[in-house]
Amino acid sequence: MNIIEQDNKVPEKSGAEILIDCLVEQGVDTVFGYPGGAVLPIYDALFQQKKIKHVLVRHEAGAAHAAEGYARSTGKPGVVLVTSGPGATNAVTGIADAFLDSIPMIVLTGQVATTLIGTDAFQEADTVGITRHCSKHNYLVKDPADLAATVREAFMIATKGRPGPVVIDIPKNVQVATARTDIKSNVPNRFHAAGEADYVAINKAVDLLANAKAPIFYTGGGIINSGPHASAALRELAELCGAPVTSTLMGLGAYPASGDAWLGMLGMHGTYEANMAMNQCDVMFCLGARFDDRVTGRLDAFSPDSYKIHIDIDRSSINKTIRVDLPIIADVGTAIRQMIDVWKGRKYKPQPLTEWWARIKGWRAVECLNYPASTDEIMPQFAIERLFAATKDKAPIITTEVGQHQMWAAQHFHFDAPNKWLTSGGLGTMGYGLPAAIGAQMGHPDALVIDIAGEASIQMNIQEMGTATQYRLPVKVFILNNEWMGMVRQWQELTYESRYSESYSDSLPDFVALAEAYGWKGIRCEKPEELDAAIAEMLAYDGPVMFDCRVSKKANCFPMIPSGAAHTEMILNSDEVSGTMDDEAKALV
């Protein structure tokens, strides 16, 4: 009725201003970005406000991984702002990474003006087309009047259900053009996330748990994504029933590594006890994990005799590779809480599970994480152990790159809390760790943040050292420098009779000098007996440190399930390596 009256009074704002307002409304305090022609209006709007801090990275891949690190460590969505064309394409790896690891992220990309789209304009790329299948959803906004509704829906999609990256492509003229600011988004809520589990299924699951002779919890990144309440519920349920717990790479920290029921990580470089228990269990509870090929090994030999219960928020994760007996589509934290309620309500008592634990004890006795000790060179596993010993009381946040060092970190650094372990699991992106550490440090200014790196991986986003310097972020980069792309070399030894095709890290920079050039502290350590002191020096330094830890060049990461093998066919140490594989195994990733 009075719309016409109001018309003149309602102030209009530019698309860029509306965008900033919406980000503030969504509680965004930090944006990782890099400017360029197609986002200048947004950068100008950022300049004129104080609520959002912008972190200028050195490469857009760094922005995306930093946003992932921020998101994974805080539980809040990470926000990225990049220009059109090369800005957007540079961010794609991080978007794909967040998609595979289910990290909530909003990526704002500039685009050429709507009038130029499709003309091969300067810095035009089909961002929506390129990111369509590596994002949870994406948009091209053609009118500033649609921005508010789009941003609101985007945050909902990124954070609800199985989280993931959402891309919003905003043409430059849409950033400049104005629209009324009183537009209430009456977006029909078209995005529905699973919540509570069906009680019939939960009752059945609890029944199975109470009567199992050899149960196991196989937990994943979904527990971390579900939130701290999910980790708390998992701990309580494990305590109630006394079953052992293993976790994927992405789920480390959900159940404490110091807990009695902890078997260690499972999968390709998981522990012998975790993999054997997965193989031999009678009832498997897969909680927020997805039977990834790195976890299952050979599919037809995967836990052949168990009854499998799978709780996941994403229905497409159910029966994707492994057929399960009882699928439950729900928020995993809520579902575990429901299981606890049912367990308590029925006054179930934990079974002794004596026989099961005795068998696990036998597998543990193999001490699969043992490695040959050395007094004249630093073994990489030893370096991680010492780093863990020196930092465990400081609740550090650990990020990693990708390779052997990542697996050694997963094996030998132990996590007692969720959101402390940030690693690229699904995409396996070298270059993730340093920017992720920067993002985590932005979200936790007082935390100790360490990137456990390889000398090859760190070079993939090494330019982000400048970002840490600029924002005085005291991140530590702990390089296990073995002078090799160790993981590649390891596979070449296992599969290709040690033909080392392009896996040597030649012409390495002097990492200490490089550190100093960026205004960091550089430390090099080559002797096992000097390691503790050097680590102490790194920790004592109030600023960013690059630690060049010269480790054994020959060490390989064991135990290992070779590709195409079953959980029971683990290689425990290098003596068992044959040097070649059949084509079927070679063809598997």
Binding site: G129, R132, L140, N319, K320
Partner: protein, 171 residues
């Protein structure tokens, strides 16, 4: 080593989707990016307010893959409902084809006679050609086109399949 092929079943899926830019690309692209087959795909706006479209996809795959296809479709934000007509029970499938033949004399008469049997309509005619319009299930159209090859087929255009459940319920 040789690449193995798996046994595949044919399924007809119908999807109710938001009628917005990129929806078709999102769905079709998801099929290619995940390695699923599309035998045919049709799409048209079906709602009064033009906000909703219906997509009919004919796909092939082993049953677990079909199940994944449905789950992956449901995961896309603009997809509201997916029905597997093949699983859901009795349903009808129809397709329209335009078939051009050319010839003279006996061949021309035979083409006309066959068209009549198959209830195809002539929608264009010259002294040396016809265009027939035929609707029916995919098998009927396949057979008709095969017959037309014998009597001077020039070209065929097919719409792809649309399908609905039988009975009073919406699919």
């Amino acid at each position: 080593m040789h690449i193995k092929e798996e046994l595949a079943e044919r399924h007809v899926l119908t999807l109710t989707v938001d009628n917005e830019a990129g929806t078709l690309a999102r769905i079709a692209g998801m099929f290619t990016s995940r390695g699923y087959n599309i035998d045919s795909l049709t799409v048209a706006d079906i709602s009064e307010d033009h906000t909703t479209s219906r997509i009919t996809i004919v796909t092939k795959g082993p049953p677990p893959v079909i199940d994944q296809i449905i789950a992956q479709c449901e995961r896309l934000v603009p997809v509201h409902k997916v029905t597997d007509l093949t699983e859901a029970g009795p349903h009808v499938e129809r397709e329209l084809a335009l078939v051009k033949v050319q010839g003279s004399g006996d061949q021309r008469v035979e083409a006309m006679r066959l068209a009549d049997i198959y209830r195809a309509r002539v929608i264009d005619a010259t002294v040396s050609s016809f265009i027939f319009e035929i609707t029916g299930g995919p098998d009927k159209i396949d057979t008709f086109v095969t017959l037309m090859r014998e009597v001077g087929l020039v070209e065929v255009g097919r719409t792809g399949i649309v399908g609905l459940m039988r009975g009073s319920e919406a699919s």
